[in-house]
Symmetry: C2
Subunit: 417 residues, 2 copies
């Protein structure tokens, strides 16, 4: 029954996507506007549904952090509505003629941007993803099938009902925004194999969820999320700049993928920079774990194990390794990194270039915090997630990542010889 | 042992890819030139190895068609060498700055084209794929791990040895081009899950192989190949043009994915066009299978079953359906098509536009043969395959399909607030 219900949702989503793909930007923007207004008007209804989730979450013994992520307030609902309104002002990528040319035989070929079709999103606790994902998919002409976390089920259902019906008021097919109506895990298994009705799956959540989707899906997946990011302080780096960047990249928001997890520092700077930097980091409640040399330079640092170099802490912990050269830093990043974001802090032109060339990550920085790896910070206006794979989209994904292209070919009877 | 050997090849490919990714176009072109020359010089060695495969193929009772695909002659080897030389003249996509911009905080962000890394190719009988794939990957700075068909094992091994060693002479890492050294099927199973060492898998071959890869791979896959393509003859279409396009799209090379499998014809043209067209098709040895109305109009046509509408014949067979409207044609294509290539033959401007908009296929034509869906015919100069999925690449894939992007970010100490 679960399987049939979801397949039926998929079928309906596919039909909705066909209509939606040719809808005008004006209609889609009108829908976004009505969705925002509906969220505001019905915020009490959402808060009531959220209270059920919060109650159950407390009973289940969810951590304070998780409960905080789950909680919806009038202010947070207002933020979600504002997020939708932001999308209105962004230019619609659908219909862009990316390129067009004439062939010697007179055929004209045009490469045009079109929606992907139906996007499946599998996500965890935060209910704001329901609004974000639905808004992004709608703006790009895609139908969306949402599978939120069990903990947020009632909140998600209230939100999805409100925005889907508001979109319908603007002329969007009612099935363009659908939430899977069960918390049974079987639903996810069905979605993973739903190649006939889903064009792409985007998992958003912890490493466990993402790996489950990557390993088991036959639907193409865009992998997001894991960031074991590095800062490398080069020989001759400006110490003040190094401190500011390292502290910002570690502490400004430690629980996200673009925060750094390991500091690599050139031996020539280690003795003069590390003690003060360690003190500043500790003032920011950062626990330090160091290689042998780092532990010799700064007292009271725990020894880092092999596991530390591999770990995305997502917490106020920083591993520190003293290296003898840029090459050693690049090798360390190659061996342990997740190809998300890395920064070199340097005053040297050639070494900056070398780092940019030799580090194979989605975003490679010179002298700036890795925390800028973000769709909004890059200027995309919106973000679906940060792709850590190389196919289709890499790094922060804006609206274009939810589109594909098709070729249009105009002839007057050409045949192939 | 098989698993360890292949993982070891993967590790080496990954290291080779790191070096190759920053090699100059000049070095890569020099390698392509040396590879072409080596194929010509050592063609006898290749022909000897091929003779072993041919002998075994005959013993195994391979069909004449398969044996012909397997056969290598001096002329065919010359064609492979010429294929490599063609790549030299194509512009290198690696290093292209796709876009760059400055953010309000002074950060400069650049989006630069880089190689994917290591490409895995799993393919069937034709040994020319060994050369094609190796050349395309080399030109785009990717290492390649090739897994050819059992039938062509000796031919592939001889070819791979020759071209890898020629590339090495030009300064390319020896492990940039590697062939899996076993015909054991376990090798494929290992490759499908080799996420640490492969950035993408491209299967090339029959539907069975492609589905096996799509269903079982955890490495991201680019799906190629299946084409259940349609021609729709619209009300008021030019009959002569319709005949020429339908005959060309069906018969010019029936065994390939961009040939049509079903003809949809508007009722208003069916009685006048079908009898003559059927005669012409039969002269070209095409077997016809029709809907009820088609069978009434033309005598001696077999009845088409539900299965016929779903089938990619890859043979001189054509299914014919009479429809009452453009919408019915579009619905039929939506229901049965594989989203590869479809054409409308029409004189009507608005219906041409409607078809282009409402048919969701990689290539949608007005008044031209679907046989043009091809990298060379589109002007890309080379083709890795034709993607039938929507992620990363759709339709004919040129060199760009073997690249990804990375973001470079230049700052002078920017941190995030």
């Amino acid at each position: 029954m679960i399987k049939e219900n979801i397949l039926e949702q998929g079928r309906k989503a596919r039909e909705a996507a066909r209509l939606l793909s040719n809808m005008s930007t004006a209609v889609k923007n009108e829908a976004l506007s009505k969705m925002a207004l509906a969220l505001e008007k019905k915020s009490e209804q959402i808060i009531e549904a959220n209270a059920v989730d919060m109650e159950r979450g407390k009973e289940k013994g969810l951590s304070r952090a998780l409960l905080d992520r789950l909680l919806l307030t009038a202010e947070r609902i207002e933020d979600m509505a504002e997020g939708l309104r932001t999308l209105i002002s962004l230019s619609d990528p659908v219909g862009e003629i990316v390129k067009a040319w004439r062939r010697p035989n007179g055929l004209e070929v045009g490469k045009i941007r079109v929606p992907l079709g139906v996007v499946g999103i599998i996500y965890e606790a935060r209910p704001n993803v329901t609004v974000d994902a639905a808004g992004l998919c709608l703006k790009t002409g895609n139908a969306v099938l949402l599978r939120g976390g069990t903990e947020a089920f009632h909140s998600n259902r209230a939100i999805a009902d409100i925005i889907a019906s508001a979109a319908e008021d603007a002329g969007i097919p009612g099935e363009a925004i659908q939430l899977v109506q069960t918390t049974d895990r079987e639903a996810v298994d069905v979605m993973l194999k739903m190649n006939d009705y889903l064009d792409v799956l985007i998992p958003r959540g912890g490493a466990g969820l993402i790996q489950k989707v990557v390993k088991n899906a036959t639907v193409p997946v865009i992998e997001t999320g894991v960031g074991n990011c590095h800062a490398y302080v080069d020989e001759g780096a400006d110490h003040q700049m190094a401190k500011e960047i390292v502290i910002n990249a570690k502490t400004q928001r430690p629980g996200v993928c673009n925060a750094i997890e390991t500091l690599l520092i050139h031996i020539s700077e280690a003795e003069t920079l590390l003690p003060g930097l360690a003190e500043d980091l500790r003032k920011n409640n950062v626990e330090l774990r160091g290689c042998k040399r780092a532990c010799q330079i700064v007292t009271g640092i725990k020894n880092a194990s092999e596991e530390d170099w591999q770990t995305e802490y997502l917490d106020l912990i920083l591993a520190i390794k003293v290296v003898d050269s840029l090459d050693e830093a690049v090798e360390h990043i190659h061996k342990y990194g997740s190809r998300h974001s890395e920064v070199i802090i340097t005053q040297d032109y050639l070494r900056a270039r070398k780092f940019l060339k030799n580090v194979d990550s989605a975003a490679v920085y010179v002298n700036a915090s890795t925390r800028f790896t973000d769709g909004n910070q890059f200027g995309f206006g919106a973000e679906i997630g940060i792709s850590t794979q190389k196919l289709h989209a890499r790094g922060p994904m804006g609206l274009e990542a939810l589109t594909t292209i098709k070729y249009l070919v105009w002839g007057e009877g050409q045949i192939r010889c």
